[in-house]
């Protein structure tokens, strides 16, 4: 029996090893589920340009934008799992697409195997620089005193920012915001700077420079550690709201069924590229916080986040709109 097992193992292992050695023998596609020019796209192009040197084959960034990522992820879930098709997964955007029954997504969370995470952009609450709300307590007190009166902008329905508002309301009982959804960060900026909206739930990367210049005031960062880009701004746990942890992360995944040695090979090249000084420099200039996670660490993060997103997605759908 032992000999059999050994032989079977050998038979399986040899082709896999050969496969891994021969991989990659042709250019690799890296799908971005957003149109060219967004921050996911730019970061993807930077990583691709560096990683292809180590991989020995070119990495072609392919934009399949549409429906908040759903078009690209649908295609990715159907791609041949041979390691030549990688894609960026943006969390929790991917999770809410899967979790929102209205979306009728053609894939579930198991359709993707996370390979390596690149960016973790923490959530942040900010107000205009001359706002009367000097800190988080001021804002929450106002939202408790006048429930449903203080307007709060999100960058989209069921975006990480939308979920973050719900987390905040849950952690600070009695505080209720008047949630106003915009499409993306630019209209949020315009509306708050113009004084039409009182506060915004957003991400560090989109606002950190303006916080530095004083145009905006950051009230709290929704992460367990302070952001290197704004070390003076307290985190939510420091302020006593341990559960308000929200971020938008971007990492690379492959379709389910991709052989393990191939994944390892990709992980190796991608990790090397992400540790590259050029990559680090470009990301810092863009205000994007790196959090490189590979293997089981990233897989665990993905699973836990999915469960968390499920709770708040359900809630977002049932919360009365007033």
């Amino acid at each position: 029996m032992k000999a059999w097992k050994f032989l079977a193992g050998l038979l399986l292992a040899v082709p896999l090893a050969v496969l891994a050695q021969a991989f990659p023998s042709k250019p690799v596609q890296l799908m971005v589920a957003y149109p060219a020019g967004g921050s996911t796209d730019i970061a993807a192009r930077i990583v691709a340009a560096i990683a292809e040197k180590d991989l020995g084959q070119s990495i072609v960034v392919v934009n399949k934008g549409g429906a908040g990522g759903q078009v690209g992820w649908t295609e990715m879930s159907r791609a041949k799992p041979d390691g030549y098709y990688l894609g960026f997964i943006n969390l929790p955007a991917l999770n809410t697409v899967i979790l929102d029954p209205d979306r009728k997504a053609a894939f579930n969370a198991d359709a993707f195997v996370p390979v390596i995470n690149q960016v973790l952009d923490p959530g942040i609450i900010w107000v205009k620089g001359d706002s009367p709300y000097k800190n988080l307590k001021d804002l929450l007190d106002a939202a408790k005193k006048n429930p449903n009166k203080i307007s709060a902008a999100t960058t989209g329905i069921l975006s990480d920012d939308h979920l973050a508002i719900l987390m905040m309301e849950e952690a600070a009982p009695g505080a209720l915001f008047r949630i106003v959804h915009f499409e993306g960060g630019a209209p949020v900026m315009t509306a708050v700077l113009g004084g039409h909206i009182e506060c915004a739930f957003d991400n560090v990367g989109s606002v950190f420079r303006r916080v530095k210049t004083g145009e905006l005031r950051a009230l709290a960062v929704m992460d367990t550690q302070r952001s290197p880009f704004m070390p003076d701004v307290p985190t939510m746990p420091e302020l006593g709201y341990r559960t308000v942890i929200s971020s938008s992360t971007r990492g690379i995944a492959v379709p389910k069924g991709t052989p393990q040695p191939v994944i390892k090979r990709l992980e190796q090249s991608l990790k090397k590229a992400m540790d590259d000084p050029e990559h680090l420099k470009k990301m810092e200039e863009a205000g994007l916080q790196l959090r490189i996670m590979v293997g089981e660490e990233y897989a665990k993060y993905y699973r836990e986040l999915h469960a968390k997103a499920a709770k708040y997605t359900e809630w977002a759908r049932s919360r009365p709109h007033k």
Binding site: I42, A49, L158, A186, M189, T190, T213, A286
Partner: protein
């Protein structure tokens, strides 16, 4: 006039051989991107961002900005020559520009477009130098309620696009608005009319739809009746006649004004100003019936508006750091990857860079004019190619364009479907322009209405209590009343359409 002093130093920096070369390269690349349908300014700029990583910040941004306004002009060329808008903002130019080309006046149309663009661009750039800060504050006063009022006003003007039949124009408007609603609903996130197809969640792509309605439909009409040549007569002179100059002068001025004001308001986008300039021109004209048959004002006004818009949209970006359109957002991305955040502080931190970029707008507008006027004759001569080749080439163009938008075959399919619809509607003489304008206005209007109501907690008074929106809505009511009177005065609802 402190600005003018800074501007002088800016010119000194922008006129160095290297920066001049970047501006020139940007204009050429931009024109190419504009000519290729599908690849609009937004996608084109995005794709070329990595190219600028290797340049220094000033040179890179000068080049990207040049690509942006080069693309805005390049779209005109295909609109005039083959009725395919190279980018969305050139749709209106198809209406009269292509008719001019069929009469052998492609050169004149392209010439006046180049000159109008130059005037519009220069004016906006000058305004950026002289009065930018108060203008930028004006931009911020437009919240969702004001924006809704503006879009509603735009919709009321749609009857200005009617041909002989007002009813047909209204019917097409409703159709356009309905088609615009396809996709994910902006407040609840519920998909509407999508048949479960994820590609439809973002709605019908504007560019594939107009490429189908105009480009593909035109080819089908030509194929059906080859004697209905794409170009009916010999090419005529390239330079506008004295009479045409006279007619264009006012159009260029008004187009510039419309494009400039709308360029300041974030979110309006590049298409609406061109439509508004066209409608205004038609309303003011003593010969509105000539519009759609090759009226030079119908090219001059929207083209001036287009470029005035493109340059004016830089004002909110540079002064406030607020990107007012997707393309501008990508340009902003280019600033950011270079470690710069556009906004009031950039003027203090890196005045050298900001003013060099501003100076480059002037230089870029001159380059575009110098580059394009001599090329006009060359482009126009392209129409001498036998129609079979022109047809096959145009169709290839459309397929590449539709595909390269998002990299999906779905858009190619949308384009073909709308090609067939456009062919049938044009055969019958239904006006397509109202449907196209409605397609743009629809989502903006619904989104801003419902965002406004989110802001007010469902109270409609928000539109009446805010001064700008109240004034705009009052104007809209006035236009509606006048239109209703006109409608009542019409005897036949079909109004003797052909």
């Amino acid at each position: 006039m402190e600005g003018l002093q800074y501007l002088a130093t800016g010119f000194a920096s922008a006129l160095t051989p290297a920066n001049l070369a970047f501006a020139l390269a940007g204009c050429v690349l931009g024109t190419l991107i504009g000519v290729l349908p599908g690849l609009g300014p937004a996608a084109g700029t995005a794709i070329l961002i990595p190219l600028t990583f290797t340049l220094d910040a000033t040179g890179g941004i000068i080049m990207l900005a040049a690509i942006y306004y080069g693309a805005m002009y390049g779209g005109t060329i295909t609109s005039v020559l083959i009725n395919v808008p190279g980018e969305a903002a050139s749709v209106v130019t198809c209406l009269d520009g292509y008719q001019m080309a069929r009469q052998g006046r492609a050169g004149t149309a392209l010439g006046i477009a180049a000159i109008g663009s130059f005037v519009g661009g220069m004016f906006a750039a000058l305004a950026l130098v002289v009065v930018a800060p108060p203008l930028a504050r004006f931009a911020l006063s437009f919240g969702p309620p004001e924006f809704f009022a503006l879009m509603f006003l735009g919709l009321c003007l749609v009857t200005g696009l009617a041909g002989q039949s007002l009813a047909a124009a209204l019917l097409m408007t409703v159709l356009g608005l309905l088609l615009a609603l396809i996709g994910i609903d902006p407040v609840r996130g519920a998909p509407r009319f999508t048949f479960g197809i994820p590609e439809l969640y973002d709605g019908l792509g504007f560019v594939p739809v107009v490429m189908g309605l105009f480009g593909v439909a035109e080819i089908l009409l030509v194929v059906e009746a080859p004697f209905r040549r794409m170009v009916e007569t010999k090419l005529k002179g390239l330079w506008p006649s004295a009479e045409e100059w006279k007619r264009s002068g006012g159009a260029i001025g008004r187009g510039t004004a419309v494009g400039f004001v709308l360029g300041l308001i974030p979110g309006v986008g590049a298409v609406i100003p061109t439509f508004m300039a066209y409608i205004l021109e038609k309303r003011l004209s003593r010969h509105p019936e000539k519009f759609g048959t090759g009226a030079i004002e119908g090219v001059a006004a929207p083209e001036s508006a287009n470029n005035a818009y493109a340059n004016a949209a830089m004002i909110p970006l540079l002064v406030l750091g607020v990107p007012s359109s997707p393309t501008i957002a990508i340009l902003m991305g280019a600033f950011i990857v270079n470690g710069l955040t556009p906004g009031p502080f950039l003027f203090k931190e890196r005045p050298d860079l900001v003013w060099a970029v501003i100076a480059s707008f002037f230089i870029g507008n001159v380059i575009l004019l110098v580059l394009n006027l001599p090329l006009v004759g060359l482009w126009a001569r392209l129409l001498k190619v036998p129609y079979q080749y022109l047809c096959a080439g145009t169709l290839l163009f459309c397929i590449v364009g539709a595909y390269s938008l998002k990299g999906t075959l779905f858009d190619v399919g949308v384009m073909l479907v709308f090609g067939i619809i456009g062919y049938l509607l044009r055969k019958l003489g239904f006006p397509l322009a109202p449907a196209v304008l409605a397609l743009i206005l629809g989502p903006l209007m619904e989104k801003s209405l419902r965002t406004s109501l989110e802001m007010s907690g469902g109270d409609f008074a928000i539109f009446a209590t805010r001064p700008i929106s109240a004034v705009l809505l009052a104007c809209a009511a006035l236009i509606l009343a006048v239109s209703a009177l006109r409608l009542a005065a019409l005897k036949s609802i079909r109004g003797g359409a052909s």
